[in-house]
Amino acid sequence: MKICVLVKEVPDAAVVKRINPSTGRMDRSGERNLNPYDTHAIEAAMQIREGGVAEVDEIVAVTMGPETAVRALHKAVSLGADRSIHLCDDALAGSDVAATGYALAKALENEHPDLVLLGQQSDDGECYTIGAVVADHLKMPSLTQVIKMDLDGAALRCERQAEYGYDTVQVELPAVISVGDAINEPRYPSLKAIMGAKKKQLDSVTTVDVGIDAALVGGDGSRVQCGEFHDPPAKAAGQIIEDEDTNDTVEKIVAWLDERKLI
């Protein structure tokens, strides 16, 4: 079986995220990390490979993004992917969720994956949605926020938390599954894997290469326009205590609670 893992480069958690006022888009200049949720998706693929239930021929990491996004692919390969595909084209800049999902689906179509995995959310924006968009374009069943996944013949038995408790859902392959961070503990890449990552096959493809209709992507092809960025209603800043002397800290907390009749 062939597994494709969608990955994404996101801002380092330590970088302050902001909107570029001239473009109205997120300033992505500080980006340099593989989305942490995606590392769980790669690990899930590796566990299927190592689980022995099915023969995994190939794990392919796929991303869409500017040239710097190859770093996310290198990281993905160091974590276990065999090769990677970089959908990179200026025509894609400014794509909204629907356009991004469409473009990714086109890139995946040529790969004929049996399973598409991705992280359920990214730190920088669109949560929970991209998998469902990709799945509809690929005409595959899909499930998001999966925290347990077992291969059972040509189907996956998935568990997730839904509105009323835990649901167990049987999903026939091929399918698109987005995973939560509780699904596994991603391994750390070995030094050898990190060093070798840049040598693995990386194909850079354009919108033309994968047959994307240019009218459906990019800022102009997107059906949502975001703008009018403004501050949320201000909430009065709370009091902060740095704990230096714990007895003193606790005294302050108790006084604070007592003042509000909470004890």
Binding site: Y128, Q225, I240, V254
Partner: protein, 327 residues
């Protein structure tokens, strides 16, 4: 003028609160742009005429009822796409919750429509709807405008208030849906399983909530001791991360997929304060946070924040509260 179509989730014969919020919101906004609010329901025989008609009380004028599997998104995408094709709704609106995200996204793909998620407010402007969405860790708000025939709005959990005003009874229209082949390839094996002990956190005045910062399952003893010290109506709650990790029962989970609480005191121990958690507790009267990371988002919406080691602070705080109570 445009009509608004909402999806209303149900379970064991009752409608979901977030869905009812979406119907109320959809009906109020539709009225502003000269349209009506309709609802789609998908399920079995428990979707009785009477139950469906009751959506009229929240402002829905029509309810499109399709027979189909419950608790799965893709069949609902098929049903909504069909209803929109036949009736030309201008907007699709979803309350918070996992299925709303999946259905809204699938519908966006199917109908080449724009979608905005995590929406906290919908407004009408020049006969159209725009959606406000907090971004960048809630530090900014972005406004979405839609192009094309359909705009999709997915609310953040609890964003839309339920307004049960009308005496109205909605017209029920049965819809035959030919489900897409891929929509029937996911099947529900078990729905709504409760894991772990049953605890009541919604009625508590004081909640001591624990997150990953407690370090391990045994770390919850600190939270339990502290809750006990407060006595009376205090309980322990947890984040999704630690519930999924098996440290604490599901029934105690706060947040997007868990419960929403607004106690007099919410004391968060070792909780970073991700948006998914925040939406379940932000209306608490007083929020106290203990976290060793001074940059944790929870400090941005806590009334009292303590930067420090909870293993040192919590036992002493427990003793101090016991002492105070005893005095």
């Amino acid at each position: 003028m445009a009509d608004v179509l909402t999806y209303v989730l149900h379970y064991e014969g009752a409608f979901n609160k977030n869905s009812l919020g979406a119907v109320s919101e959809g009906s109020a906004r539709a009225a502003e742009i000269g349209g009506e609010c309709h609802a789609v329901v998908v399920g079995g025989d428990d979707l009785t005429d009477e139950l469906c008609q009751s959506l009229g009380a929240y402002g829905a004028t029509k309810v499109f009822r399709a027979k189909g599997p419950e608790g799965l998104a893709q069949p609902v995408v098929d049903a909504m796409a069909k209803v929109i094709d036949e009736h030309g709704h201008g907007y699709a609106l979803f309350g918070g919750g996992l299925l709303g995200f999946e259905i809204g996204a699938g519908l966006a793909a199917r109908k080449q429509a724009g979608v905005t998620m995590e929406v906290t407010a919908v407004k009408s402007r020049d006969g159209k709807l725009v959606a406000e969405r907090p971004i960048l860790g809630d530090s900014q708000v972005s406004v979405s405008q839609y192009r094309g025939d359909l705009g999709i709005i997915i609310g953040r959990i609890n964003a839309f208030e339920i307004a049960e005003g009308g005496e109205g009874s909605a017209e029920v229209v049965d819809v035959d849906v030919d489900y897409s082949p891929w929509s029937t390839k996911a099947t529900m094996v078990q729905r709504g399983e409760q894991r772990g002990a049953d605890v009541d956190i919604e009625g508590a005045d004081i909640l001591v909530a624990g997150g990953r910062g407690l370090g391990k399952a045994e770390g919850f003893e600190l939270a339990e001791e502290l809750a006990k010290a407060f006595g009376g109506n205090a309980a322990v709650a947890a984040t999704r991360a630690v519930v999924d990790a098996g440290w604490y029962p599901y029934a105690a989970q706060i947040g997007q997929t868990g419960k929403t609480v607004s106690p007099k005191l919410y004391l968060a121990a070792g909780i970073s304060g991700a948006i998914q958690h925040k939406v379940g507790m932000q209306s608490s009267e007083n929020i106290v946070a203990i976290n060793k990371d001074a940059n944790a988002p929870i400090f941005e919406f806590s009334d009292l924040g303590i930067v420090g080691d909870l293993n040192k602070i919590m036992p002493k705080l427990t003793d101090a509260i016991k002492a105070k109570k005893g005095s």
